[in-house]
Symmetry: C2
Subunit: 138 residues, 2 copies
Amino acid sequence: MQDLEKILENNNVKPTAMRLLVLQFLLDKKVAISLTDVENYFDKSDRTTLYRTLQTFVKSELAHKIEDGTGIPKYALCEENCHCEIDNDLHLHFRCTNCNETVCITDYKIPTISLPKGYIAEDVNLVVKGICDKCSHN
Amino acid sequence: MQDLEKILENNNVKPTAMRLLVLQFLLDKKVAISLTDVENYFDKSDRTTLYRTLQTFVKSELAHKIEDGTGIPKYALCEENCHCEIDNDLHLHFRCTNCNETVCITDYKIPTISLPKGYIAEDVNLVVKGICDKCSHN
DNA sequence: ATGAAGAATGCAACGGAAGTGCATTAATTA
DNA sequence: TAATTAATGCACTTCCGTTGCATTCTTCAT
C-alpha cells in the first residue's frame, strides 16, 4: 500500500490523498478508464480535480491516454519502464462492442508501419473493435 | 457533374441538392472532413441536415467515418468498391499535428493483427500521428 | 390532377464531456 | 511563523453530437 506512494514519487508526483486513490483505482481496474468512470466511482470528489489528476499522471508518464474511437479519452497505467515511445512501448487497444470496455493488449506490439515519402510518424494508435475474451465465452 | 447524381443513385441515395453539394465538397477536399468543416463551408445550411447527410453517406457505404484521435468524427469518401470490410478495405489514417489535417493513406493497407485467444476482431482503426508530407517540406 | 404517404429539411433544444478562471485550502520552505 | 507554491473545489463556458417535432418537398397511387 505504501508502494503506491513510491510509485508516485518515482515519477515525481506528489502523493496526495486523491492521487493515491485514483492510482489505486487504476491499478484495480484492469481496463482503460474514462474521466467519467473515475468521477462515478469517487462520488464525493470534484470532477476537475480528477481531471487534472489524470492529466498529471499522463504528463509524468505514469498512465497513458487512449483514444479508443468513442471520442471519450480513456486512461490506463503504463507498463514498467514505459516512456510511451514509438517502436518500443506502443501496444494495441481492444474495444469490446459488447461490454464496451477497452483493454490494453500489451503482449502484442504494433508492427512497424510504412508510410509514404515525406510523412514523419510520431505516434501510432491502433484500436481493434470486436468481441473480447470475456464476452465471446458467453 | 451529373456523375455526382449517379454516384448517389448507385448507392441508393436520393440525389437531393444538399447531398450533391456535400458530395462535391467531399470529392474536392482530399482530406477527412468533420461536421463542423462542412457546416462552415455551407454557411446557409442547417447543421442537422448536414449531420444527417453524412450519416446517410456512411450508412450507404459512400463515405467512411474516421476516428482520428481528436474525438471529433471525420468523414471521407470510400474508394471504389469499398465495403469497409476488415482484411480488404481498411487503410490507415494519418493526422498531422501541424496542419491538423487527417488524410487517408489508402496505398498502405493495415497489416493483419494478431490477437490473444478469445478475441474476435470486427474492425481495425489505425491512426498515425505526426508531420504530413506537405508540412515536412516547409 | 389531386390527395395521401413518405422522405428530407429546418428549427430549437438537450445533454455529455472537456476545458478554464479564480478563489480557497493545504503543504513546503525560508 | 510568515510567505511562497502547489493542489483542490466551485462555477461557468464552450463545443459537439444528438434528438424531437413541425414543416416542406417528393413520390406515387387513385
